[in-house]
Symmetry: C2
Subunit: 456 residues, 2 copies
Amino acid sequence: MTQDSVNRTLGIRPATAPSTALLTDHYELTMVDAALKDGTAQRECVFELFARKLPNDRRYGVSVGIGRALELLEHFRFSDAELQFLSDTKVVSPETVDWLANYRFSGSIRGYREGEVYFPQSPLLEVRSSFAEGVVLETLLLSVYNYDSAVASAAARMVSAADGRPLAEMGSRRTGERSAVAAARAAYIAGFAATSNLEAGRAWGVPTMGTAAHSWTLLHESEEEAFRSQVESLGVDTTLLVDTYDVEQGVRNAVAAAGTDLGGVRIDSGDLPVQVREVRDQLDDLGAVNTKITVTNDLDEFAIAALAASPVDSFGVGTSVVTGSGSVASGMVYKLVARKDARDNWVPVAKASPGKHSVGGLKFPVRRRDEGVASGELISVGGLPVGDDDDRPLYVDFVVDGEIDRQWIGPAGVTRAREHHAMAIAELPRTARRLGRGEPALATYYIDEHGNTSLA
Amino acid sequence: MTQDSVNRTLGIRPATAPSTALLTDHYELTMVDAALKDGTAQRECVFELFARKLPNDRRYGVSVGIGRALELLEHFRFSDAELQFLSDTKVVSPETVDWLANYRFSGSIRGYREGEVYFPQSPLLEVRSSFAEGVVLETLLLSVYNYDSAVASAAARMVSAADGRPLAEMGSRRTGERSAVAAARAAYIAGFAATSNLEAGRAWGVPTMGTAAHSWTLLHESEEEAFRSQVESLGVDTTLLVDTYDVEQGVRNAVAAAGTDLGGVRIDSGDLPVQVREVRDQLDDLGAVNTKITVTNDLDEFAIAALAASPVDSFGVGTSVVTGSGSVASGMVYKLVARKDARDNWVPVAKASPGKHSVGGLKFPVRRRDEGVASGELISVGGLPVGDDDDRPLYVDFVVDGEIDRQWIGPAGVTRAREHHAMAIAELPRTARRLGRGEPALATYYIDEHGNTSLA
């Protein structure tokens, strides 16, 4: 076993991973600069990451990102390259450069488990630290959560629409090259079976798959020659792409090349419900009754649902899953919700901007359940634990006093998140499966320290 | 000068940059595997990167990505970590692992300059190499081009709508953490003045900006205290965020804290046309006649255009620019368009899939111009040079026989791209500035070897 595969098994990233410290907005460091000067930098604060609403009036969202965020946090270090840049460009004063040189996050982070479903105002992440240590994480945490959760939230709906038939994520080419890896990971947590993205396989243990593109057929003198060569190389259980020229001829060539044991055919264009039916009949007529059909043409959750009665065996989804099916940013924000005052008491704080208000105070969220079925999102404001035996507390610790709990990272963290997601989805009421616009599947309630509840 | 700043000036990335070789779809390596077995791996091929149409019926697109792609190409090397993964998971045969271990792109790449405008079927990039060397670049090139060009295409319309007033990109938190850096770069090439993203400043020389968030105000006992502290730290020409609680009171507090020389105020919520007018009047009444107003509330090109008559001095744009303003994937594809036959002649190849056909053959594109104004996109199919003195050839060489032309990479490449973009936009007919849906500003024509032209 090489060191790399040992590392991979243990979920350890290479030490040469680049610094993530400048994946940060300029104003965060300007604030640190000013806070170091006026003495507020060390003030203890709580920042909260949440979404005011679900995109596109969906029924639920899926919180994904913490496993990646924790690894990026480990590399949130200002090395010479970063410090020199900040110094050369005078983004901050020399005193702040020195402070940044020693930056290590020493606070605590807790929140919703990766793969958990969420609703408007669900307090997905709580960062408790000095102002200066917490404020600089705003952009990095939001970038990860907003993108990864957008993909997972779309992917979960596709999994639901596919109703047990496997889905493969193959949209790497439709999103930034590193976002592609995150997308493959997020879709897998949300129930996809595999990805085309090799780096997601290497870094996160997501199963990878793929056989050939149209260029393979075009490279050869004829489609039949291309098919024969592919079968020779990959075996008869490969999947042949049959729509380069003419689908009917393509299916004939495929069975001629592989025989009736051919593993599968892939269709990447055309009017799918009609096409799939025709191909199934043709395969059956040719005796290839066990040959599977996979479709990959511009699918989203609605197109998948429309193929419910078609003899499709599996789906490949590209653009729509990596772009969050119309909502590529989840609309999550990171707000200061509480700070300590001079007498060391927590003071809830909130902004009042129209349409963008926040709810101050520490939170403690539980998933209310009645006989195992989720019935509400109950958030204690003030932070006191609430809920009865049936309810499920939603916070777990990710970082305690600067120490990252490593069970949440690496491939093992992905496996854990995928399992947790399946449980959280199974617990939702049936209305959650509706694809159309509507109300969230669960209402969010606040409960104050006197036990009074109100709708969020 | 440190080594790092020398490197930055020269546009050299750290040697420890991670491998990009697995930012690749599984099927590309499966094809290489099969092609090494059947002898087609060394067949000379031309792949073309292009878009069949413009997103959202826009008037033009902006091609951005080559500067990043060339740097990623330099790191497209299969090191031990990548090879071990491919070997462990049996994605390819041991012979192919050996071939990949020695992979260096030795072909040639030419295409549209970074920042160039494009139209449907514009052949943005031509990759000429052996099949095996070229096919493995498909996903990486498309990821970069699809995302970066989506951002640049949206950004260019915002720049046009802002009509001379400066724009800052501040959407890092609304896209994947590494895509954020690419987005800042792309928006800058398309004419934005600055970004909030610090890594874009360090890596690409994009000017960065920012002062404070709402958390800064909430951290302090009062808004006025927060403003006074900010002014003390950043000077009176800073920009104060005035909408945490009440805008009118915020403006009063701002001028009280900084005096009438206050640099600017920022408004991040509310009904902007009304709000901006009121704030301008209030600032003028308070004597702060030179204080600028910047707005940052969910702007896109349409919202910016709607503020044409408002006394806004600058715009900050977040979500919409980093998500391509409704089109986050540009729809670009990478297709095999020609290959050599056994007698070393080029054979044009094309797929015929409905709605997804491609045009075979080598291309040579020029921007047709009449008295300096662009009037058409003329593409010679077959690759013979066309065009008269007025026309502008669109291809430049990026890689020749494996050697990257370094003028296109690093911060210097970004500066070059930004200048080229400004020229290419200025050359377009006035119809290109229309924000509404419609026909491309230029029609695309093919011209064959006999001089016959046809609409694409």
